[in-house]
């Protein structure tokens, strides 16, 4: 079992229940530390996206409390909130004729003047970040001309420029080929280490999650698990992912058979 470090936890969820009108998932208790990469896994419709949106204050939770740096998310001022947590939706609209630079510039919303003027310092931050994700050569390109993998890296760059302590991503690798899936997941891992950011993302790629993540939030049909990948395997928690299913989790190949 993991021991919760009271002082270093950046995000805490205490008995949270999720849902729009009806409760779809309940009794979520979890926490995250700086620099941790956490995968959320669960069957379709279990509420992975809803959990991320609830943490990001996009939808309201039913009960329980969510704390970022020991403050409930409701008590955090809406101009401070974007510096604590950012959200990358699973499907991002791609506006035609908007340059990659202008797309990045929007993420400085809280740091620019009323007209959104970008200072020289902010410009070099944008260029540096795009270099980090390997897109600096496309800085003036129309963002609709980027490939799916490139665009996903651009959305991650946008969160890095927003410079929030926690970055949440809803299925960042869902529509990507295997090469891009690995590129994106490794990029996220690198960011969590080098920038000391907490990365929380939902995924269906369990093998990748087990290999690269520090922790997994597993939304089982009976129980919510917040643990390291190895102890989840030990507990047999992955067998609790799908109800009434003949699938068995194979600990050797880290996948279902």
């Amino acid at each position: 079992m993991l021991e919760e470090n009271r002082y270093s936890s950046i995000l805490k969820l205490n008995n949270v229940s999720l849902g729009y009108d009806k409760i779809i998932y309940q009794n979520i208790s979890a926490y995250a530390n700086p620099g941790e990469m956490i995968a959320i896994i669960g069957a379709n419709g279990k509420g992975k996206s809803t959990l991320l949106k609830t943490i990001c204050k996009i939808i309201k939770r039913h009960t329980g409390e969510i704390l970022i740096l020991d403050k409930t998310i409701e008590s955090i001022n809406s101009s401070i909130f974007p510096t604590l947590i950012s959200y990358v939706p699973s499907q991002n609209p791609r506006p035609k004729n908007l340059s990659l630079f202008d797309m990045m510039a929007t993420s400085l919303y809280n740091k620019t003047n009323w007209l959104g003027k970008i200072t020289a310092d902010q410009k070099s931050i944008i260029i540096d970040t795009l270099t980090k994700v390997g897109l600096s050569q496309y800085i003036n390109r129309d963002c609709t001309t980027l490939s799916d993998g490139e665009f996903q890296r651009a959305t991650i760059a946008r969160s890095l420029i927003q410079d929030s302590k926690i970055i949440t991503l809803d299925e960042p690798t869902a529509f990507l080929d295997i090469a891009n899936k690995i590129i994106i997941t490794k990029l996220l891992k690198e960011i969590s280490i080098t920038h000391n950011k907490t990365i929380i993302f939902s995924t269906h790629d369990i093998a990748q999650a087990i290999k690269l993540c520090d922790k997994i939030w597993l939304m089982g049909y009976d129980h919510f698990y917040n643990d390291t990948p190895s102890s989840l395997i030990e507990k047999g928690a992955f067998d609790k992912l799908f109800k009434d299913s003949n699938l068995k989790f194979d600990k050797e190949i880290l996948n279902y058979i």
């Binding site: 959200y87 004729n97 929007t106 993420s107 919303y109 620019t112 007209l115 959104g116």
Partner: protein
């Protein structure tokens, strides 16, 4: 950066085109006034009195109205298209023109039912403008109140379209019940016109336009984040309901003001944002809003120039011309698949 040089060049030749069109517009009409005479009106008193009269009390107000209307409707169109993520959205999509139409219908039919004459110019000009403005403002107030309750923009769009059809039905009913001369006054208003505005009325219009355009410029930053979705904007700390409110207020001032004085002018609000995107190849509102204002003015002055081409035989209604320009543009956009 070369991109900004390119934009500068676009702005320069578009501005020159606008000036050229304004001069053409001033010299053409039932009486053709040579350009050198136009200049001498300002510099000397040599020109015949009737020429001065035509230019100063008729043509200059008309061209100013056309410039203001074109800029206002186009800037509204850009904001509506971004807010609703819909390339076919225009300033009237939430029912502002229907509201104005209802105001005018009630006014025109009411005056004739009371046995008064609609023909006296004070009655028709100011009465129609204020009733149109009132109608537009009431409809927008309803939309504003409802928008505070609605979570997403698409629900607001659906509500606006539904409200517009209800108002349209009421207008039809009023038309059905009214007499021929009142009906004609109403139909003439719906055709749109830039003429007949006094300098005092233009001043009112200009104040509305400057306020509306200032709010629109303030909206630029929020509009840019809205390009990438409401959820993204919300996470950045954009206060969506306040943004929506500001966009609606700007639209009421701009489109409501134009409609009150000139009647509902169609197509410009849809077509100009697309034309501007095609010229500048940029969706950043910092470029798109001034570009649309400029292109909108050009097209409106062009439409007005064409409308007065028949010479002494009178003018073509402005809506006929704007539809004849607007529809081919919209078709071209669809065929070239330029809609994002």
């Amino acid at each position: 950066m070369s991109k900004f040089l390119k934009y500068k060049i676009h702005y320069i030749y578009l501005s020159l085109l606008l000036i050229l069109l304004i001069i053409t517009n001033l010299s053409l009409g039932s009486v053709i006034i040579p350009i050198e005479n136009l200049l001498s009106i300002i510099t000397s008193s040599e020109t015949p009195l009737y020429v001065r009269d035509i230019v100063i009390s008729f043509r200059i107000p008309k061209v100013i109205t056309a410039i203001l209307a074109g800029a206002a409707l186009s800037v509204c169109g850009v904001q509506m298209q971004t807010l609703f993520r819909n390339p076919l959205a225009d300033p009237y999509i939430l029912g502002i023109s229907s509201g104005a139409g209802l105001g005018v219908a009630i006014y025109v039919m009411g005056v004739s039912a009371l046995g008064l004459s609609i023909d006296s110019s004070l009655m028709s000009n100011l009465g129609i403008a204020s009733s149109a403005w009132l109608g537009a403002a009431i409809i927008t107030a309803i939309i504003l109140i409802v928008s505070l309750k609605l979570k997403d923009n698409i629900s607001l769009l659906i509500f606006g379209i539904m409200l517009a059809s209800v108002v349209g039905a009421i207008i039809s009913l009023i038309q059905y019940l009214s007499n021929a001369s009142a009906l004609k006054s109403f139909v003439v208003w719906t055709m749109g016109s830039f003429s007949g505005l006094s300098y005092n009325q233009i001043l009112i219009l200009a104040v509305l336009m400057i306020t509306g355009l200032s709010i629109s410029i303030y909206n630029i930053k929020d509009l840019n984040t809205l390009l990438m979705g409401e959820v993204y904007s919300k996470n950045l700390g954009v206060k969506l309901q306040r943004t929506r409110l500001r966009i609606l207020v700007a639209t009421t001032l701009l489109a409501g003001g134009v409609t009150a004085f000139c009647g509902p002018i169609g197509f410009i609000g849809i077509a100009v944002p697309h034309i501007s995107r095609m010229i500048f190849k940029d969706s950043n509102h910092k470029v798109l809003i001034p570009a649309s204002a400029l292109v909108g003015s050009i097209i409106m002055v062009l439409a007005d120039t064409i409308a007065q081409l028949p010479g002494s035989s009178g003018v073509i209604p402005i809506n006929t011309v704007s539809a004849l320009i607007g529809v081919p543009v919209i078709f071209a956009i669809i065929l070239k698949n330029k809609i994002s």
